[in-house]
């Protein structure tokens, strides 16, 4: 089975990276792999290993963004992904989660037919967690969110996933889309893998079966930002030094007023 993993480059630092008047991210600063996407890559690689005995498999990484976002795809390749693609070009710029999911779905379809699509929980910049479910809706596939672990048998995958404060065990027959939690601790690439020459492929609007620009990027995004603002920061943290008993009493007073 072929597995696709969707990953994103996010700003390495968050101070001053948003245009508050437009509500858009200002690109150009240092970027990094979205923290929730390392576990997604790890899950995709483990799924590939799981399915390897059942006739082989491959894990392919997809991302969308400017050419510099290819750095996260190189990271995925270092970790062990078999190939990687970057959707890039002006047509995809300024996309909200729906337009992003449309572009990713079309991009993946232009490469192969993927039995499982794996996403991280949410990006650290937008923090919506909507791309995974939107992909499932666009592709008309089942979606299982917040997957903590999985096994496989002859009838498909058995997933343990978090639903509110409970853990639910479900059977999933691909094709499907899942999002995974940080329980999948990402492997650290070996030096040999990091040193090997790696390339990612680009996908442009013209490579897609559906080339209507109105579906992608800013024009394809129904989301309108009414107001963007920096969250109010609470006052400076108070540091109080006291004995253990005194500290316990002080915490109780703060919590319960007694």
């Amino acid at each position: 089975m072929k597995i696709a993993v969707c990953i994103k480059q996010v700003p390495a630092e968050y101070e001053g990276v948003t245009d508050l008047s437009l509500g858009h991210l200002i690109r150009g600063g240092r970027g990094r792999l979205n923290p929730a996407d390392g576990p997604a890559i790890e899950a995709a690689l483990r799924l590939r290993e799981l399915f390897w005995e059942q006739g082989g498999g491959a894990a392919h990484a997809f991302s969308m963004g400017p050419a510099s976002a290819g750095a996260v795809l190189l990271e995925a390749l270092s970790m062990g992904a078999d190939a990687a693609w970057l959707l890039t070009g002006k047509a995809f710029a300024g996309a909200d989660t729906l337009a992003t999911a449309r572009a990713l779905a079309a991009g993946m379809a232009s490469v192969d037919d993927y039995g499982l699509i794996v996403c991280g929980l949410a990006s650290s910049d937008g923090d919506t967690g909507q791309v995974g479910p939107a992909l499932a809706a666009i592709l008309n596939r089942p979606f299982v969110g917040r997957v903590k672990s999985f096994t496989a048998d002859d009838n498909g995958l058995i997933l343990r996933h978090k639903v509110d404060d409970r853990i639910q065990t479900v059977r999933l027959c691909p094709p499907a889309v899942i999002s995974v939690t940080r329980d999948f601790v990402p492997r650290i690439p070996g030096l040999k893998a990091r040193l090997s020459k790696k390339i990612f492929h680009e996908i442009h609007l013209g490579d897609l079966a559906e080339r209507d620009e109105a579906l992608y990027g800013l024009t394809g995004s129904p989301t309108r930002i009414k107001r963007a603002y920096a969250p109010e920061r609470p006052g400076a943290a108070q540091v109080r030094e006291m004995s253990g008993i005194e500290a316990a009493r002080a915490i109780l007073r703060e919590l319960y007023g007694k």
Binding site: A12, E13, E15, R30, R32, L33, G38, E75, S78, R182, V185, P186, R187, I188, P189, G190, L191, K192, A193, R194, L195, R240, E241, M242, S243, E246
Partner: protein
Amino acid sequence: MQSEFSQQCEGCLGDESRLTGWAKSISFPESEAEAAEHVRFCAVRNLPITVQGSRTGLCGGAVPEGGHILNLSRLTGPVTMRKAGEQFLLTVGPGLTLAALRAMLRARRFDWAGGSPPQAVPELFWPPDPSETTASIGGIISTNGRGPGAFKYGSAARHVESLRLITARGDIVTAKPGGQLFQAAVGGEGLFGAVCAITLTLSPKPVEQWGVCFFFDDEARGAAFVDAAKALKLPALAALDFMDEASLKSVAEFKKTAARLKELPDAPGGAAAAIYMEIHAGGEAELEEAAGHLMTAAEKSGGDPENSWSLAGDEMEKLRLFRHAVPESINAELDRLRLADPGLHKCAADFTWPRYTFSQSVEAFRKEIEGSGLRGFIFGHASGNHLHVNLFPENQEEQRSANDLMAAWLNISRQQGGRLFREHGVGKVKKIFYADITEPKEIEAAFQIKQILDPAWFWNPGNKFLL
């Protein structure tokens, strides 16, 4: 100024040495002027002062033995940047932590002397990297801290433009490299005054940085790789640290409860040694060339580069956490043992054996640890064979054996012309060793300097000298 010691401040009676002291009063000045005023207040009352920063020291230097505690943790600024010629100089307060300094430099959150910054300011960093990021800059200066990065960058003293020091009379004087006061103050463990401002010499951040960890299934092979890596003399190799099997197992146990290590995978099973390296390069070509040489050397020494770890840029922080988890995990284990016997102390090496190869050092330590029957952990820096061997006595008899072993090792260091107390200082924990092992003329010289600069023995009573 707080005149009586309050129970609320009892945490300030100890540091990471796990020693606990006593004090009459404590104050937390927030400016140089305030700190100087507190010093004058104590001086007229003949109240000796123990200076504290973040209290991360391992030798008890910040543990008071009576008198007043001058806690400088709130004296973090003012932070000012200026450019002098081609150098970028950042003045900070001694209480600023290494972590806060790094965050400040990343976000460029500081004022420029004279108002506006010059054009084209590169990304800057302060090279000294004692792996404890909560350490205060003042503490790092007072012990002349080094850390893994000393392999390329040397000790903290090399990266300081000047210091401001409060004297026992409450005056503030400036000390510059080359001067006697600077020499005495940097690494002087606060015995000659309180550092109240430090001007750091910053360096342009290396364009490319990788962290790499090789694992070996045999300790001797890991040590042989360290010798091979040192022989390469790669200018880009910034850190070269060793961890033995006991250290790796200690981290694995610690990882079960330490939330910040959750995002680290487990080290490969069966690893008998790990070598942690950092490569800091001016460009991709230099980086890849250095990494290629190290990979070849690791393969020749029996390592498996496929089974290694490598992370780039900001992600390297995960590997730094892994490296730093070694002393953290060992100290956590010591805390558990001390619940049963509060009198137990670990013995931690901080000396160099410059005439041995790294392999010879590891082999000698291993042989003696096994011969003693003590629990021991071998980890630390390859530079100068500066290993932080930790011995773990589990009863008072073993405590004596550990002390004897440490004294014997210090003697070897002395015979080899090594540094006996490299970066942790002497403090209270090692002053017996300092008195026994150090050449008498060296002790006499240090004593003379103390007499000249602090004749009333006002600063940091109980540290370094057996009186």
